[in-house]
Each structure stands twice: as C-alpha cells, then as structure tokens.
C-alpha cells in the first residue's frame, strides 16, 4: 500500500502538464486573438466575405471616407473621392490588400478579448480611424494624373504623415467594373495595387540623387570637378552610355541640373561597386519600409557583381535598379530636413513615428542646395509659383514600352513641408513637360489648402 501511496505522487505530473498546457493555450489566445478574429470566414464580422461591422474611416479633415450605417458599409457620397481614395481606404472584400479595410481591420473592428465581438455586433460600430490623407488633395492628384496610369504621393517630411497616395487605374467601389477579371488589355493593370506602397519602378534620372550622394561621400574634390560631355560616356572597351545631349563642360551642380548622363555614368563607374552599393543601401535601397501595418515593396539595387558599364547604367537609374515611390518621397524628405533623416511614413493622422536615416547631414545639406538649384536655375521657379520647390525629374527607360516619367521633389516653404512623387507610367513624355506640371497642380492645391486658407483665416481675424 505504501508503495502505491508514493506512486500516486508521480500522477501529479500529469495534472501539472495539463495545467501548463491550459496556461499556454490561454496566453496564445490572448496574443493572437486580434489576428484570428478578423479572418474573413468569421460570420460575426463578415457577410459573404464583406466586412460588416467596423468603425468609420475619415480623412485628416474629418471627411467620412467609409462608415457602417445600419449594418451596411457606406463610402463617401462623392464618386471622385471614392475613386481617389480607393487604394488607401480599400474595399470591404479584401481585394486591395494595402487598404485600411484590410491592413488595419483589427483596429477598425475595435475588438477586445474581454467582450469578444459582443459590443461590435450589438452596436455595429467598431473603432474609428482618422487618416492623414486629405481627400481634396487626393482628388486634385487623381485629376492631375488624368489619363495616365501611375501614382502620386504627397508626404509631410516633418511629421511623416502621408497627405495623398493616389494610384491609377482606380475604380468606383459602388460601380466596380465587371470586366476586371476578364479584360485582356492593360487598362486595369494592377488595379488592386496601391502603386505608392507596392509599386516598383525603374527610377531613371531621379536616381542621380543617390549617385550624387555617393560622390559627395567619397570624392573630396567633387565640388571643384568639371565634367566634359561629348554626348556619351564610353568605357575602355568602347561600351557607351549615351547622354540626352552634348553638354560640353559642366560643374557638379550643372551636371545634375542638365541631368547629364555622361557625368553621372562616369561618376558611378569611377566610384566602384562597393561604394555605390553602400550608398544606395544607406539611402534605403534593399531596405523594407512599413507604413503602419502596410509592408512597402522593397527598392532594389545590386551592383555587387556588376561590370563598369552596368554600374555606369545603374548610376543614371537604369540597369536592374528599382525604386518604390513611398521610399523615394522619404528619401527626399531626409534631404528636405537637411539632416539626412526623416519620420517613417504613416497614414494615421497625428501618429508619432520614429526617424529613418538615409544619409549624413553634410550630404543632405549639399543635395538640398543642388535640388533647389535644379528648379531655380534649370526648370524655373515659374513652373512652381510660390512653392520654393526643389526636385529632380526622370525619364526611365523600360524594355518593350515607352518610358516612365518622374518628378521627385519637395517644397522648402516652412509652412508647406511636403515632398511629392509623380510617376506617369509609359507616358513617353519628358519630366519637365509632363511630370512637372502635374506635380505643380497638386502642390498648388496643397498651397491653397494649407497656406492660403490659413492666411485668409488670419486676415479675417
């Protein structure tokens, strides 16, 4: 009997194992609840795959972009607002993965583990989210981009808030085209994708900012250098990178103003694989950025095994180089701040985000001057009235199609700390004729909304 008495103690091990299992289960539930509850088969939150109960989504001015009314999800009544904000707000069926309806659905539902979905079902409302975008600016951007596919992003380099992230093509969530799945042309290409967050483009001449940065970091004599352009850069074995003109003799600032391929191809070739790779990665290439819970596409730069001709092409933003538009605005934001770092981009109004570093402050200050002189001395301030604009255009060659047209820049006005990127896909146009007017339209709208409106307010008082 005594032996059995002792043995029974061993049995407690099983009770402890069970108890430990229960505690782990409880803990796992606690940690993962928010993730598990928003599965689209959860009938408490979804009906036929459509999100039912969720909080309102408003823009930075409080304009309602989506809300639940009587158990039904309603969007803004203005069709243009619906189209311009589609990719940020997202659809309720989850086609647009980076939309707030998908990426922030656990926040939107206002789920908590104590009461589960009880209040949500009872009141039909979840947790409201105020976004940093301005629907008026988004509509202006969509109209400015017009017939082109592409994206326009506007980013506040002081706060990190994204004011506008328009992606075309788009559609009206109330009248979704029926032929999206069956269409054979490219008119709906990437229609569910927010190009600002998920797009990857050949950067073309906008990449010269990075090449210039690398030169500033590594060449002590760069500011006293002169470049001779005879219409092409040629390596020892006769391979050429052709230039967009015959620029003659240029200093460093002029080389960037004229976007001289000869100069920048030569710089990249001279700098070498290691230095170009290091600077590009410092500037955010091969680094993945997150906008709140949205994972942006990762910009790509790799010359680790490149020959000099490939590196030369990469120096003017060709070769295998790809850039994500959201990353691009953050990178110039770091220049605009003249410090080399800038707040992480966010879609939430008033969110405090941590800083991302892109370059040293010396390079940032020098590039800021160069990008300002681009507009001042080359594009002309008349193209950007009142804006104190800085920036760089680009024409990115893509194989088998017309080139993409770029503008990447920012305003130096302290009351308008916005950076902008414009990408017109396969437009075939030049930056100065096509992308700059589009950028100006959007920035003028921003000027009107955030500078003039407040100035008038001051006069009234």
């Amino acid at each position: 009997m005594n032996r059995i008495f002792k043995r029974s103690y061993i049995m407690y091990v099983f009770a402890f194992a069970f108890l430990a299992g229960l505690m782990i289960l409880f803990f796992t539930m606690e940690v993962n609840a928010g993730k598990w509850v928003v599965k689209d088969y959860n009938k408490h939150l979804y009906s036929n795959g459509e999100l039912l109960a969720a909080g309102a989504i408003t823009d930075r001015m409080g304009t309602v972009l989506a809300e639940t009314v009587d158990g039904e999800r309603k969007f803004n009544e203005d069709q243009k607002v619906r189209e311009a904000t589609l990719h940020v707000v997202g659809d309720t069926a989850g086609f647009i993965a980076t939309g707030v309806h998908s990426s922030m659905k656990s926040d939107l539902t206002g789920y908590n583990l104590l009461q589960g979905v009880y209040n949500l079902k009872k009141e039909g409302t979840g947790h409201d989210i105020q976004l940093s975008i301005d629907s008026r600016l988004c509509v202006a951007a969509m109209e400015a981009l017009g017939k082109y596919q592409g994206t326009i992003g506007v980013y506040n380099y002081k706060t990190g808030e994204i004011y506008c992230a328009v992606s075309l093509p788009t559609y009206d969530v109330y009248n979704k085209p029926k032929d999206i799945a069956t269409d054979k042309t490219d008119k709906y290409e990437g229609i569910y994708m927010n190009r600002y967050f998920s797009g990857l483009y050949t950067p073309g001449s906008t990449f010269k900012i990075v090449t210039a940065c690398c030169a500033l970091e590594n060449m002590t004599d760069i500011n006293n250098r002169y470049f001779t352009c005879n219409g092409a850069w040629t390596n020892k074995v006769g391979n050429k990178v052709t230039c967009n003109g015959v620029h003659g003799t240029l200093n460093f600032d002029q080389a960037l103003q004229h976007s001289c391929n000869t100069a920048f191809a030569g710089l990249a070739a001279e700098l070498g694989n290691e230095k170009m790779q290091a600077t590009a990665e410092e500037c955010g290439f091969n680094r993945t950025f997150y906008v709140d819970k949205i994972k942006c596409a990762t910009s790509y730069y790799d010359v680790t095994k490149a020959y000099d001709i490939d590196r030369a092409w990469s120096g003017i933003g060709q070769y295998t180089t790809l850039i994500n538009p959201c990353h691009a605005t953050m990178m110039v934001g770091a220049i605009a701040n003249r410090s080399g770092y800038t707040p992480q981009a966010t879609l939430i109004k008033g969110a405090n985000t941590s800083n991302e570093s892109f370059m040293g402050s010396v390079q940032a200050k020098r590039l800021d001057k160069m990008l300002r002189s681009n507009v001042e001395k080359y594009y002309g301030d008349h193209r950007f009235p009142n804006l104190l604009m800085c920036g760089k255009t680009g024409t990115a060659e893509v194989s088998g199609d017309k080139p993409h047209t770029w503008f990447l820049g920012y305003s130096q006005r302290p009351d308008l700390p916005l950076a902008i990127v414009v990408v017109c896909e396969n437009s075939g146009g030049y930056g100065i004729d096509l992308a700059i007017p589009i950028a100006n339209k959007v920035m003028q709208k921003a000027y009107e909304l955030y500078v003039l409106a407040y100035a008038n307010l001051g006069e009234e008082n």
């Binding site: 009997m1 032996r3 059995i4 008495f5 043995r7 029974s8 061993i10 049995m11 407690y12 099983f14 009770a15 194992a17 069970f18 108890l19 299992g21 229960l22 782990i24 289960l25 409880f26 796992t28 539930m29 993962n32 609840a33 598990w36 509850v37 599965k39 088969y41 959860n42 009938k43 408490h44 908590n112 583990l113 104590l114 009461q115 589960g116 979905v117 009880y118 079902k121």
Partner: protein, 406 residues
C-alpha cells in the same frame, strides 16, 4: 445544526444551472418549450435527490465528485438543448443510463470479491464487443468504431473503457503471480490493436495512456522496464500505422492549420477564430457561429463553450478535469485496497488525458484525433462511460463507505 457540507455548493450549482436553463427553455417567439423545461426539472430533481439519498445511505460520503459531474452535465444539457429538443432528450436519457451505471458499478465494486467474479466475463465481453464492432461497423467520419443496432448507434470503445480499467485493476491486484500480469498485457494489446484497426486513433491513445497509468501504479520500478519495452513496441507499431495514408493525413496539418484554413485545418481554425470572437465573457448561448461547423457540439464543443459561454467558463470546465484527477489521486492514497487505488487513478487519468486530447487537439496544440470532451460533448456512449468511470473514483474514496451500511 448546520446543513450538510455540500449544501452551499449544490445551491450555487443549481443557481448557475437555473440561469443557463432559462436561456434555452424558450422557443424563439417567447413561448415555453415544455419538453425542455420538464427535462431540466427532472435533472435538478435527480441532482438533489442523489445529494439527499447519498447522505442518508452513505452518511460520511463526500459529494465533491458528483458536484463537478453535475455541473459539467448541466452545461452539456444546455448546449444540447440549444441544438434541438430531440437531441436534448437523447442526451438526457444517456445521462440517466450513465447515472444508473454509476450507481450499479459503485455497488459491484463495493466488494472486491464480487468484483473479481466480473473480471473474466468483462474481459471476454470487451474483446467480443470490439470484434463485432470491427466486423459490422459502418464507416462514420473516417473511423469504423460505431456499432449500429436497430436505430441505435453505439460507440463500443466508450463502453470498453470502463471494462478496460475494471479488468486491469482487478487483475493487477492479484499481481503476485506473473500469470495474471501477462493475461492483462495480452488483453490490453488486443484492445488497443482492435482500436487501431478501427482507425480510432484517439481512443487507442487513451487506452494506451490508461494502460501506462495502470501499469505504473501497480509495478512501480522493476516491472516498469517491462512495460516500457511493451510501450515502446506499441509506439513503434503506431509509427508504422502513421505511415498509412489515413493517419498521415490527420497529422499533415498539425501546427499548420492556418495554411489549410479551408481544407484540413477547417475545424481547428474555426474553433480558434470563434473562440476568441466570444472573448472572456462569451456571446450568449445560441449566439455563436461555430455551432454551424460539423461536429461543433461533439468534438469541437470546447470552441462552442469559448464562443458562447466565454473563455472564462470554458477554462473553468477544463479546470474541472484537473479537480477530478487530483480527487482521484487523493482517494487512491487512502483507498482500502490496491484495486481501488489503481482503478481510481486510471479513471481520473483517463478523463484528464481525454480532455487534454480534445482541448489541445481542436486548438492545434496536439494533432486532432476526434475524441470527445468528457461530460460536455454531445453523445450517448461517451456520457454513459464518463459517469461509469466516476464510480471507480467514488469507490476509492474511503468516506464513501465509512458511515454506510454494508
């Protein structure tokens, strides 16, 4: 004079049950469902009648075990009632049969000499029953463990569980001769083997675990080696069987249920999603969506508990199995003979192990083996066997007999 010690507990249980019964005795338009009401009245009457009677007949008896079992059975009845009146009546009848078996078995094992007489017939009956099942069984949900007689379908392995412990404890008590040990090992191997052939992996595992507990309780150290070798041999057999397609399929999704959310991981992912949908406090009985999933109130009942009754009550139910088990160990320590010690620990261990397989199976902590949650899952055979198993623990409790008449 104060009332009996069990009075506050029974009162609390009854209050809890009245609150829960109240939520299911009305039809949707607000009228009373008489049949459901009658079932609950009878059930409550049985609870109190037993409490009073057992105090009179077995005066020093502790009512702790029954209190837990009544609590669990009440939950089971409410869940079943929310699924349909017909199902409730079936479930209630199963409870009554189970309760009668409980009292019957308690009477049988009261006297170990009397129990000894049942040993061989029960062993033979068990094997015959399993054999018949194997031959006649219909394939229901991938396993061949259902015996259909007339309109009645019985899961025979549930009934054999009781016999398995009975035979084991009775044999091992007389372990002075190694012959009886060999006999029991043969019996165990046949039972577990037949369960494997029925593809009832979960129950086979439960039997194996019970076998290990029985063996350990009796043999202690020296003989353990022998049992371990046997155990290893069985595990090896298990691995061989795992290579077979059917079992591999069951394990393929283990720890990967989210990758197969609409395939093999369907049940587990629904359990997890709807469990957290309920939150700590639950959505209310009948307000869940997990109940629309196949086998919701049987294998997946833990998820229904979480969703509708709240995670707190679901975990309270899980706690109940720990209490039953610890109670069984404590009773085993003071039991009158080895038969009681062994059978008590084995029955408590079996219930705990089965609860673990169920709870951790549907939540993807363990592979899903499709066993029921004792007392809670809807199912006649399972309910009967759970109540019958309780008799072993009750019988081991010295207080049960201390004041009673023999």
């Amino acid at each position: 004079m104060n009332g009996p010690r069990w009075l506050p507990t029974m009162l609390l249980i009854s209050i809890f049950q009245v609150i829960t019964f109240y939520q299911v005795i009305f039809v949707q338009d607000g009228t009373l469902n008489t049949a459901v009401g009658i079932v609950f009245v009878i059930f409550t009457a049985i609870e109190w009648l037993w409490a009073v009677l057992s105090t009179i007949i077995l005066s020093k008896s502790s009512l702790a075990l029954e209190c837990i079992a009544f609590f669990l059975t009440g939950i089971s009845l409410v869940i079943t009632a929310s699924c349909g009146t017909g199902l409730l009546i079936k479930q209630f009848v199963a409870f009554i049969i189970g309760f009668i078996c409980y009292i019957g078995l308690l009477y049988v094992v009261q006297n170990t000499e009397r129990a000894e007489k049942f040993r061989k017939p029960m062993a033979v009956a068990s094997i015959v029953l399993l054999l018949i099942t194997l031959v006649l069984a219909k394939n229901i949900n991938g396993a061949y463990n259902w015996l259909v007689i007339g309109g009645l379908s019985i899961q025979t392995s549930e009934l054999v569980k009781v016999a398995f412990i009975f035979v084991g404890a009775a044999t091992l008590e007389k372990l002075q001769s190694s012959r009886s040990l060999t006999q029991y090992v043969i019996f165990a191997v046949i039972c577990i083997g037949l369960l494997f052939l029925m593809r009832d992996l979960g129950t086979a595992l439960i039997f194996f675990f019970t076998f290990v507990v029985l063996a350990f309780m009796r043999s202690g150290d020296v003989r353990t080696i022998l049992f371990l070798i046997l155990g290893a041999a069985m595990l090896a057999g298990l691995i061989v069987l795992m290579r077979s397609d059917y079992i591999m399929k069951r394990f393929a999704t283990y720890r990967h249920v989210w990758d197969f959310a609409d395939g093999k991981g369907y049940q587990q992912t629904r359990v997890l999603t709807y469990s957290v949908s309920g939150g700590w406090l639950g959505l209310g009985i009948g307000n869940g969506h997990l109940r629309d999933v196949f086998a919701a109130t049987e294998d997946l009942v833990f998820g229904v508990l979480c969703e509708e009754w709240g995670i707190l009550i679901a975990f309270l139910v899980a706690w109940a199995f720990i209490f039953i088990f610890i109670h069984s160990i404590r009773c085993a320590k003071g039991a009158r003979s080895a038969f009681y010690s062994i059978s008590s620990c084995a029955a408590g261990g079996l219930l705990l192990f089965q609860a673990a397989l169920n709870i951790f199976g549907v939540t993807d902590f363990l592979p899903l083996t499709g066993v029921t949650l004792p007392f809670i899952s809807r199912g006649g055979s399972s309910t009967i066997s759970c109540w019958a198993l309780l008799a072993f623990i009750k019988a081991a409790d010295n207080r049960t007999w201390a004041g009673g008449k023999r």
